[in-house]
Amino acid sequence: MRFGAAILCLGIAGALSFPFGEIAWKEVRERVGTFSPEALERSAGTGIALGTLGGFRTVLADIAWLRAFHFWGKRDPVDCMKYCDLAMTLAPEQLFFLENTANYVAFEFPVWEIRKRGGFLQVPENVQREIHKKALAEALEILHRASLADPENPQIYILAAQLTAIKTDRIYGVPDYAKSAAYYRRACECPGAPLFAFASYARFVGEHVPAERASAKVFLEACRERAETPARKHFFSELLTEYFASPANG
């Protein structure tokens, strides 16, 4: 009876406070970070429980990263990834963790895997390529998950573009410039995209993706129209002239 009344009282408090909570939570939610149920599954639960205790979240993320770095030194991809995941989950807003995790997964893990299987001379080339391909897919998946949480962050797409360009270029010998260009284009569409993203996009399309040239030219011309300063307008004109042979006629 007493506990029933207490639960009823909690319910009434919940109902009364709900509208106020909703107003405040709309603004607070995005600043708390994204602990999705998937993230909880991927990361050590204890870390999440500790991390939610106030401002220590980002401090704990730094500690988790130190631990990940320790396992990186030991060439242990499983434990390294576990702590990378924890750091990224605790501080999803820190690009440092995302960037380095993606690089570990794309570049370090496949090399460790090949060495574990006997080394570069022992493992057949096609198997090595498969390992690298899988690693690149996993790294892009990490960036894709990050982009779902923060879809307008150009840095994430730039990272994906750079990974795609480097991996395809050096490892496979079959560059997938179209994919890199698509990532750069997505980065350019985000607010606050850095100018080098536009330059890289223009270069990739201008030099390697002829099918995309018309679309890229229209896009860059529109960017030139929208540019707020003469210096930026000049920058886009230069890109158009250099890669699309279009005179800067405004």
Binding site: R2, A5, A6, I7, C9, L10, G11, I12, A13, G14, A15, L16, S17, F18, P19, F20, G21, E22, I23, A24, W25, K26, E27, V28, R29, R31, V32, F35, S36, P37, L40, A49, T52, L53, G54, G55, F56, R57, T58, V59, D62, I63, W65, L66, A91, Q94, L95, F96, F97
Partner: protein, 276 residues
């Protein structure tokens, strides 16, 4: 108005008794020390600004030590009165149980207010000192100047006071029916953790992939638990240029006050029929 006087005297006594405890001084020193030590730990920071790293230590310290203070002091003061039989003596005089419990809560909440003010004062001093140096470096290198909002620290202090008030009210509600000190402390900490993770449950309830009955259950459960993460906005208030809107600030405070009132009421309800 005599009942207000009684509540005031009980709150004053509770506050004095709690403030004299070494535990309070220990936590104040520990929290303040942690903030000062954070200055020498900045090279363990990855990718964040130095001010944010220091502020994170401060925010974390205030909530962690504040929560420990809130739970332990509330339970200790409550059970000491019962075990020493002073509660019996007091309640034999014309003091109602409600007045006694409400006075206890106010005393603890006042103590938490002092704790929060002291901690935020230290945090503001440490941040102000470092912000000066960081600003000089930024100016010399032509980088953007760091943002540090002192009004935001004041608002953050009020937020933390309300959040710790919810924790204290929750603890008093648990202590009012608990038979042992340990049980009250453990249950209160579990309740605190559940409050901190309430929004994860809310996210689960709003997820499209979950089954309908689990979603309904999770959504219903969130209505019975206060969302303590609502007050975890130190960074937005202190280090972000845009901060929080007035509407959001007042709504969060109203939210906290409703939960405090409800939890204190539950404590009174249980304490009414408790054998002392």
């Amino acid at each position: 108005m005599s009942f207000l006087k009684k509540i005031f005297w009980i709150a004053r006594n509770t506050f004095t008794e709690a403030a004299r405890q070494k535990f309070f001084s220990f936590l104040v020193l520990l929290g303040g020390g942690l903030m000062c030590v954070s200055l020498s730990l900045t090279h363990f920071d990855f990718g964040d600004s130095e001010l944010k790293f220091i502020a994170d230590f401060g925010f974390g310290g205030i909530f962690l030590f504040g929560s420990v203070l809130s739970v332990v002091t509330s339970v200790q003061l409550f059970f000491t009165e019962i075990e020493n039989r002073t509660a019996l003596t007091m309640l034999a005089k014309p003091v109602r149980r409600g007045e006694f419990l409400f006075g206890k809560f106010l005393g603890v909440w006042l103590l938490l207010g002092v704790f929060v003010v002291l901690m935020c004062g230290v945090l503001a001093a440490v941040l102000a000192w470092r912000a000066g140096t960081v600003a000089e470096i930024a100016m010399a290198r032509g980088l953007p100047m760091p943002v540090l909002n002192f009004d935001g620290i004041a608002v953050f202090a009020v937020f933390q006071w309300v959040r710790l008030g919810i924790v204290a009210a929750m603890t008093i509600a648990v202590a009012s029916f608990a038979q042992t000190y340990l049980y009250a402390v453990v249950v209160s900490f579990v309740a605190l953790l559940i409050g901190q993770l309430q929004y994860v449950l809310a996210d689960f309830a709003s997820e499209g992939k979950s089954q309908i009955w689990t979603k309904t259950l999770a959504e219903a459960a969130t209505k019975f638990i206060p969302n303590l993460q609502l007050f975890n906005v130190g960074e937005a208030l202190v280090l972000a240029p845009d901060g929080l809107s007035c509407g959001a600030i007042w709504s969060a405070l109203a939210y906290g006050m409703i939960w405090i009132a409800a939890l204190v009421f539950i404590g009174l309800w249980f304490f009414r029929s408790r054998e002392i």
